[in-house]
Amino acid sequence: MLNVRAAFGRAYPRAIGAIREPSWTFFDVLLPLLGIAAYIYYYRALGADPAFEGFVVLGGAMTAFWLNVLWGMAAQLYWEKETGNLQLFLVTPMSRMALLAGMALGGMFAAGIRALSTLLLGILLFNVNMVVVDPLLLVAVFMVTLIAIYGMGMMFASLFMLYGRDAWNISNLLQEPIYLVSGFYFPVKALGPWVSLIAAVIPITLGLDAMRQELFGPVANGLMPVVWELTILVVLAVAFLVMARWSLEYMEGLGRKEGRLTLRWQ
């Protein structure tokens, strides 16, 4: 019960943040849309299959979650340490997983609003056609993808807690390549089987691939059958959560030993 309350407590500021600052939301919606527009006109100029425009809109919507995982989850404990919140969180009796789960829930909500608006506006503005093959499977893929990428974010968060600055650079470094490798805007299979298999360790790759197949059918040129992808995603989700839990505990212990959970002047 404590941990449920704690998770909701931590989710609250994120959810509120999304609603209370309408000006942020405006940019959050507008900027991804501009990015999407660029890709779409590019594909149109090349005379690509119209389904590719749908890929872009889907990728654009999922980008909201991915960025939230990178900057709102992985990097978050680093921020919290810098601002002095981390130590106040860590003296409380809540489980560290509850803290991160709260961050994830709040983040999903905030990113969800952005993703949904991108999706709807994208569909309206660019006349994207989607045919849902199997709605239940689609929902399952979407949920499991979210759990897996946020699980990955949680694991990285524990690293950031101690190795803030270095981890920060890595996150920055990863942002662009992952856009490419994970196939946000095109079927990942185009990268060749090996690159795409390696990229599949990053759950967003498989999630996107599976969702593309569910929404656009054979044009999506899937990596593997959706059910396989879902299975791998479930395994990845569980693995990331287990690793996150273990890593958090380890990093907190190490931080207490080395005096790095707090800044010197706090």
Binding site: M1, V91, L261
Partner: protein, 317 residues
Amino acid sequence: MPPAVEVTALSRVFVGKSPVVALDNVDLDVEEGELFGLLGPNGAGKTTLIKILSTLLLPSKGSAKVLGYDVAKETSKIRPLINMVSGGEISGYGLLTVRENLWMFSQFYGIPGKVANERIDALLHAFGLEDKADVKVRTISTGQRQRMNIIRGFVTDPRLIFLDEPTLGLDVQTSRAIRDYIRTWVRSQEGRTLLLTTHYMREAEELCDRVAIIDRGTILACDSPEGLKRRMNRASTFVLDTTHFDSSVISNIAGVKGVSAEAMKEGLRIKLVVEDESAISDIISSVGASGGKVLGLNKSEPTLEDVFIKLVGRGLE
């Protein structure tokens, strides 16, 4: 009943390019129900001790127990029972209101919403912060923020609370309000313990049942303020007013236990702790020899500050 805090041969070393011994073989007990103060200059190790007791930092050597539980191994037993606030901290999220921030932190202790809200209301009232309750935290002043932080500490109704320089940088009125609250809080229910650190002598003297004077990681003395002052029995304290001169010569004179000089508008106000009053004549002649002029000399009742000067050899501020 175990003491609220039981520290035995505790050391903490920060390894690095040049290792720092922040705590050096510290022994300390704080009884349940006590209002206990740690008094020491910058870098003495006060915050380090609080971090260890509040489970944020591990001891390098020795042991520390909080409410009977070991800080290294039994953190999950300790954390629900304690809370910590440090002066000047920036806690929570600027986007949330004061009330929302307090509510969020109360949830990390699993306090049911209704109970939390009642406590928050009562504390906002006690600290005169009701009119800011629904204002975003990023718009309130430093002093208001600090009051909010203190409320955050008490909202969880801890058995033991650590306050690291709770009145740092606050105006006289706010400081007094906080001190009054602290006093009432400890006394109003049995088994509540409060450990605070401070730079302010007056605060320690006025507030604390017992005070430990700490410098360079070592506890120099630990007693009630009266007990500490009684230790001054043989030493005498004087206040010497002079024109400006280099007062560092005084500390080398035989019989001088401690010197603290403060620059005033007209000259220096020097607080002296001497073992033997005959040292005073040497001091006065050394003032003249160093180009100063004595403007006044008074014998004073020992204060906690004098105890501190005697033990540490220098003043605090």
